[in-house]
Each structure stands twice: as structure tokens, then as C-alpha cells.
């Protein structure tokens, strides 16, 4: 109230102009963000529909595996996530070890996702909203599984080499890649920082969970 009385007529005009300018300045980034958010939502919708078509489709889990691997390659930034999960140990690995690790990581990812297809039969999802962040866009979805309470899952989407890719999945507040990174970091710390030991453990794990 005080402020309004203090501004005289010409002053008020400038004040209003200033406000309009400010509003214009504030409007522009949200518009760009709206585009970015819309693209990310669209991307997650398509990726989700593809995954659902496989999950709810015919065939045994073993038969679904190749289709699943193909979709994961197309929608997830597997290399980037793999590198993130190795954290400070990435630089300690030789190029050959890095390559072997990324390959194994890819298999672990596909195995762990296909291993859970059974749990997700009949799943439905809806997109709640998309929030732009400094490092990409977070798309919030709600998964509804039969006989389960609905769960909130957030997908972090980034532009990688010009196309949108999923870089993280946050379920009930827990980030998949952060959790995976702390798992690997702890394993390495307890095994004298030995990358070959990690690679051996990953191979062992893939063999165990393959059946």
C-alpha cells in the first residue's frame, strides 16, 4: 500500500512499463523450458509405450529379452550411465577395462530390467508433469500395477549427442544411478580398488542371474 502511494503518476507509468518489461524477460525462459519439457514428456511417453508393448505383449521373458535390449539401447544413455556409476574409478581403468566394463554394465542393465518383467505385467503409466533442471528435464510419472499402490517414478532426460536419452530413474526418491555408484564404489574400496575384481564380480553376477 505504502509503495503505491509513493509512486506519482509519471512514476507509475515507468513502474508499469518496468513491470511489463520484467514480465517479458521472465516469460521467455519458461517458454523455452516449456518446449524442452514438452519434448521430454513426449519422449518418455513414446519410450514407455514401447516398453509396455513388450512387457504386456506375448512370449516368455527369454523371448522378450532381445526386444527389451533394443529399446533400452534406443532410450537409455547406457554409456553415460555406466561411466557415472564407476565414478572416480573410471579414470583409473585402462581403455580396455572401460570397454569391457561398459559392455558388462549393458548386460547387467538388460538382465535386471527383463528379470522384473513379471512384476510389471499389466502396468499402466501416466505422465504427471515435466520439470526442467540445470542438467536436463525430470519427467514425473505414476505407475499403476494391479494389486499395488501407485508409485511415483521420475525419469531424468538429457540431450546426448543431439537426441534425448534417459540418464536416471528416481523411484520413491531413490536414484538408480546414485545407488549403483555407491554399490560399485563400496565393492571396489573393499577389493583394493581393483577394476578386474569388479569386472569378475559383474561377470559372475550375470551368470548367476541369467537363469
Amino acid at each position: 500500500m505504502m509503495q503505491r502511494n509513493m509512486i506519482s503518476m509519471p512514476g507509475r507509468r515507468f513502474f508499469l512499463l518496468g513491470c511489463a518489461g520484467l514480465a517479458g524477460a521472465m516469460l521467455r525462459p519458461p517458454l523455452a523450458h516449456a518446449d524442452q519439457a514438452g519434448d521430454a514428456s513426449q519422449f518418455i511417453r513414446q519410450a514407455g509405450d514401447q516398453l509396455l508393448a513388450v512387457v504386456n505383449g506375448p512370449g516368455s521373458t527369454a523371448q522378450q529379452r532381445p526386444a527389451m535390449a533394443r529399446i533400452i539401447d534406443n532410450v537409455v544413455d547406457v554409456n553415460g550411465v555406466a561411466k557415472f556409476c564407476l565414478g572416480r574409478f573410471w579414470r583409473m581403468a585402462t581403455p580396455a577395462q572401460q570397454q569391457q566394463y561398459v559392455q558388462l554394465f549393458h548386460q547387467v542393465l538388460v538382465t535386471s530390467i527383463t528379470g522384473r518383467i513379471g512384476e510389471y505385467r499389466g502396468v499402466q503409466f501416466k505422465i504427471l508433469r515435466a520439470v526442467p533442471r540445470a542438467d536436463g528435464t525430470v519427467v514425473e510419472t505414476e505407475l499403476d500395477r494391479p494389486n499395488n499402490p501407485p508409485t511415483k517414478v521420475q525419469w531424468v532426460v538429457q540431450k546426448v549427442n543431439g537426441s534425448l536419452r534417459i540418464v536416471d530413474v528416481i523411484a520413491e526418491g531413490t536414484s538408480l544411478r546414485l545407488t549403483q555408484r555407491s554399490d560399485y564404489a563400496s565393492y571396489l574400496t573393499r577389493n583394493q580398488d581393483s577394476i578386474p575384481a569388479l569386472i569378475a564380480a559383474m561377470q559372475h553376477q550375470i551368470q548367476q542371474n541369467a537363469g
Partner: protein, 268 residues
């Protein structure tokens, strides 16, 4: 718990703690490792791992089979009703914490949930309130302390209770003191009620995470570290959810709210 048993258990646990000792801190010459050590904030890791192993053993032989039997014997709708009744019985603690957090709208939600579910929901068996726009939410004294600015402290893996930290351990104790069931009085019936509630709660909670825990143990290279990370992230997200709940105190349908909003817009 029999009185004679308690000191013995405590002594045994302390002994294990002393034997296990502290984690080796990396030297300053390795800054990346040191940063990771500080981030992990688990100086008691060797002791924690001992308790993790003990808990894991107890879980494998007692709690997990009990939860599996429960899932096998009791149909899902009945399990859901039992869960709802247990949640409803936790209302006093939840409501106290909503208020201590300074979140009146949450306290209102909890009150409405209690009134609706205790009556229309048949003593809490059916969660009608969620369908009527009063969803359940988390509230415990650990979260309250976090909102009051109390730091989390180092990671702790507690016997029987599992992953925790000093803040949540204190929170657990205070929640128990706040719980009217603790003060019901003495006698065989009261003891029986309290222990059944405790046991049923444990089995109910365990049953709800059967698949998730199995999956983590199967896929993690170091399940202890994975549970540590998940616990911390989950608590952090619970705390942030409460912190970011900034709904106005006056409900939007109340005439005063509209007037207040107009007044606010005018003053800007």
C-alpha cells in the same frame, strides 16, 4: 523382553562393537578416496557391517519366512486391511509430529484420516480417506528433528532396527515415548496387545518389501552399501516432501482464504 536378558544383550552388542572398531580413513594424499569417505559418512562401518550380518541372519531364519508365510496364508485384501488398521493406530504419533513440524495442513489431513477411517472405514480397516482427498503421508520424530535443523550424523546399522543414524535413532525412541500405547498401563492383556502390534507391524512391513529386498540382494555387489545409500536417499526425499508442503493454512474453500488472497495481491 525379560529383564535379565537385556543387560546381557547390551553387553554382547557392545563387545562386538569394540572388537569391530572403526573404518580406516584414507590418507590425505588420496583426495578422491578421502572425499568419498567423507561423503559416505560411515566411520563405524566395520561395526555396522557386523550388525548388518546379524540382522541379515535373523531376517533369513525368522522375519523373511514369517513374511512369506503371511503372504501365502493371508489374502491381499485382508493384508491391506491389517496394514490400514496398524497405520490408523499410529495416528497419535503421526499427528504429534505433523504439529511439531509446524505443518498444520498435514495435521489436518491426519485428523480427517483418523475420523473418516475410524468410522466409515470400519475402525481403520479401509482407507476411505485416501479416496476422499486425504492421502497418507510420512511423519516421525526423525523427520521432525531434520526440519528443526538437527544434522543427520554418521550412518548406523542398529541391531534389529536396521539402517539408521543418530537422528533417526533418537526419533525412534521419542516416537515410542509419544505413543499412547506405551502408556496403556500394565497387565498381561496390555503386554499381549503391544507385542502383537509390534510383531504384526514387523511382518507387515517386511511383507511389503519382500520382492524389493530379494531383488537388491540378488543384484547388488555389496548389499550393505546399497541399503545404506537407499536408506539415506529415501529419508532425504521424505524430509524434502514435508519441507516443500507449503499449502496455505486456510483451506481454499473457506471464504476467508479468498479474501486473504485478494489482500495479498493488492499489497504486491
Amino acid at each position: 523382553m525379560p529383564d535379565a536378558f537385556r543387560p546381557t544383550l547390551l553387553a554382547a552388542l557392545t563387545l562386538i562393537g569394540l572388537l569391530a572398531g572403526c573404518a580406516q580413513k584414507p590418507p590425505a594424499s588420496d583426495p578422491a578416496a578421502l572425499a568419498e569417505y567423507n561423503d559416505t559418512n560411515d566411520p563405524l562401518e566395520p561395526t555396522n557391517r557386523v550388525f548388518y550380518a546379524i540382522n541379515n541372519g535373523l531376517d533369513t531364519v525368522i522375519l523373511r519366512p514369517a513374511a512369506e508365510a503371511y503372504r501365502f496364508a493371508v489374502p491381499a485384501p485382508v493384508r491391506n486391511s491389517i496394514h490400514n488398521i496398524l497405520a490408523n493406530a499410529g495416528t497419535p504419533v503421526q499427528l504429534s509430529n505433523d504439529m511439531l513440524e509446524g505443518k498444520p495442513r498435514r495435521a489436518g489431513d491426519t485428523t480427517m484420516r483418523f475420523l473418516i477411517n475410524s468410522s466409515v472405514g470400519l475402525l481403520g480397516a479401509f482407507d476411505v480417506a485416501s479416496k476422499w482427498g486425504y492421502p497418507d503421508h510420512d511423519a516421525d520424530f526423525g523427520i521432525t528433528l531434520a526440519l528443526w535443523g538437527v544434522p543427520q550424523g554418521p550412518f548406523l546399522f542398529l541391531p534389529l532396527l536396521g539402517p539408521s543414524d543418530p537422528r533417526d535413532a533418537i526419533g525412534f525412541g521419542v516416537d515410542n515415548v509419544m505413543d499412547p500405547f506405551t502408556w496403556l498401563g500394565q497387565g498381561a492383556a496390555v503386554t499381549a496387545i503391544n507385542w502383537s502390534r509390534f510383531g504384526l507391524n514387523a511382518i507387515d512391513q517386511r511383507e511389503r518389501v519382500l520382492n524389493a529386498v530379494d531383488e537388491i540382494k540378488k543384484t547388488a555387489l555389496d548389499p550393505y552399501a546399497t541399503f545404506r545409500s537407499l536408506y539415506r536417499q529415501h529419508r532425504q526425499s521424505q524430509i524434502e516432501t514435508v519441507r516443500n508442503d507449503r499449502r496455505a493454512t486456510i483451506p481454499i474453500w473457506f471464504p476467508q482464504a479468498v479474501a486473504a488472497q485478494q489482500k495479498q495481491q493488492q499489497s504486491q
